[in-house]
């Protein structure tokens, strides 16, 4: 056999209980050099998904036994990224909507036109395995390490679909940057990307922020307000710190994700929405589920595809590339000459533990770039920059004392320096409480209202 310049054939599985449809699709696809296997039922198809390992599946919706929708569900349980094109004799919108949100790539009506089908196949073949696509995707994200390369490959794959993604990772590791990159690489890139920090908005406001409210829905609601879900329609909504979302709101979010519609506070009707959800948290959601703080059903709906961003400390290979990237950005933003770190200072950066992750690295780099008088940043300056932002972990004793002091101050503030009241609030007797105040050098007088007493 002579060598061809072609890459290995793309494998397509076609599923239909109608032999003539199978013949037709096979003929069309084989003519274009696709490698085709056919299945006459959902069960047969499932078998082939694991043995033939197709790159794409085309299935009929109505079939005896396992229908296309059930097949789609089964396929995506183990292969959430496998594109599935669904054909149906009925052009019923609810079916199409349901299928789209179950993760179907495209929904076509039968009889299907040859050109239309082949174009759809072409559009949906995953081409992310090629290095080209990956570098294109991750242009905005800087990494050298293998662990990050794996995360990025996964992210590039999910970008092409509408499945929900849960990004986990420590604070400052760049969860929003990844979410944004997924949006920018998706078909939704021309539509809005809206980021919401669920932990930063008070519970009462969060619902109306997300889902909107009608005029007069509650005191102060003098105007109708469109929620962020509606504002993100057609695009992506990024819910950061989803682990901080209060339980009652979790129920509402779940309903939105199930029904693809929102009901603003005080509204009698719902509005259909088409939004891709990416959520993130630094918390251990599995633990939160076990503790009853987070709904299990919502958890599974959010993390169809989990992306875990590692600690910066666990990927030191990325540090030189990141440092270079931030130095360049700093120089560009400040219209100054780009500086660089000396070899020993770079080595030093690579050995730090970075509890604040990439965000902390940015701070250190920018501080050094600002303070360094020479083009090369010296080790002394780096040490100083890192020291100026103390990051060392406290001992338990120190942490307890720290907390105790803050607590005492807040109780004193509440009681306006009245030690008897403060002691009662804290559940201690007065003598004990005075001792504590002395221990931390807290003077009750500082909390008394000087104007009335003097």
């Amino acid at each position: 056999m002579s060598a061809t310049k072609k890459t290995p054939a793309i494998k397509i599985l076609v599923v239909d209980d109608d032999e003539d449809i199978l013949n037709l699709l096979e003929k069309w696809l084989v003519d274009l050099d696709y490698c085709v296997k056919r299945a006459a039922s959902g069960l047969e198809a499932l078998q082939l998904v694991s043995t033939f390992v197709p790159d794409l599946v085309i299935t009929d919706l109505f079939m005896e036994g396992m229908d296309g929708m059930a097949l789609l569900n089964e396929i995506h349980t183990d292969n959430p990224l496998l594109p599935v094109i669904m054909l149906s004799g009925q052009a019923q919108i609810p079916d199409a909507v349901k299928a789209m949100h179950l993760g179907v790539s495209e929904f076509l009506t039968k009889p299907v036109e040859k050109q239309k089908l082949l174009q759809t196949v072409k559009d949906n073949i995953p081409c992310t395995r090629g290095p080209e696509k990956l570098s294109q995707f991750s242009g905005s994200i800087v990494f050298e390490s293998k662990v990050m390369a794996d995360v990025m490959e996964m992210a590039a794959l999910v970008a092409e679909t509408d499945v929900s993604v849960l990004v986990t990772g420590p604070t400052g590791s760049g969860k929003e940057v990844i979410a944004r990159a997924i949006h920018d690489a998706s078909k939704r890139r021309d539509k809005p990307f809206i980021a919401v920090n669920c932990g930063a908005i008070p519970e009462q406001l969060l619902e109306s922020e997300l889902f909107g409210h009608e005029k007069g829905a509650f005191t102060g609601a003098s105007l109708k307000h469109e929620g962020l879900f509606q504002a993100a329609n057609g695009g992506t909504i990024f819910l950061d710190e989803i682990g901080d979302m209060p339980l009652p709101l979790q129920v509402k979010l779940l309903r939105v994700l199930q029904d693809f519609e929102v009901r603003p506070v005080g509204a009698t009707r719902t509005f259909p929405i088409d939004v891709r959800l990416i959520s993130a948290t630094h918390r251990n959601l599995e633990q939160a589920v076990a503790d009853g703080d987070f709904r299990e059903d919502l958890y599974y709906r959010l993390k169809v595809v989990p992306l875990d961003i590692p600690d910066l400390m666990d990927r030191p290979d990325d540090i030189p590339a990141l440092v270079d990237h931030f130095l360049e950005r700093f120089a560009r933003q400040n219209k100054t000459e780009k500086k660089s770190f000396s070899a020993d200072s770079m080595k030093y950066l690579g050995k730090m533990t970075w509890p604040g992750n990439v965000r902390q690295l940015i701070n250190v780099v920018e501080l050094c770039a600002t303070l360094s008088k020479s083009k090369t940043i010296a080790l002394g300056l780096v040490k100083k920059a890192i020291q100026e932002k103390p990051v060392e972990i406290q001992t338990l004793k120190e942490a307890k004392q720290d907390f105790e002091k803050k607590y005492l101050i807040s109780v004193m503030r509440i009681s306006h320096g009245q030690v008897a009241n403060a002691a009662r609030i804290a559940g201690r007797n007065r003598t004990e409480f005075y001792k504590l105040l002395n221990q931390y050098n807290i003077d009750p007088d500082d909390f008394r209202n000087k104007n009335t007493s003097g």
Partner: protein
């Protein structure tokens, strides 16, 4: 009275598939007639549905239309309408002349 020939243009790539395809449609006619005699609307609906899906893909738009009509009529249990569609389909298959392009 001679029936007028109905010329249908079919993609020449499909030439090998056409004999089997037409044979299956003749089988469908038999099944449709049986089902109509038995008043089996579920079978009528199902065959109508598959005819609708398969016809147009091969280039037989009229077949898809008739399939759709049978499907709709079966849902409404309109037997007379179904019978007239079956005979239209039979007539179509008998007089269709395929031109491979």
């Amino acid at each position: 009275m001679t029936e007028e020939k109905i010329v249908v243009e079919v993609d020449e790539d499909l030439e090998d598939l056409i004999p089997g395809f037409l044979q299956n449609r003749n089988t469908d006619i038999g099944k449709l007639q049986q089902a109509a005699d038995a008043g089996d609307f579920e079978t009528l609906r199902s065959i109508g549905h598959s005819l609708k899906g398969v016809g147009g893909g091969y280039g037989f738009e009229k077949m898809s239309e008739l399939g759709a009509s049978i499907e709709t009529a079966a849902k409404g249990e309109q037997l007379e309408e179904i019978k007239s569609c079956i005979s239209a389909l039979k007539n179509y298959l008998q007089n269709v002349e395929i031109k491979f392009v």
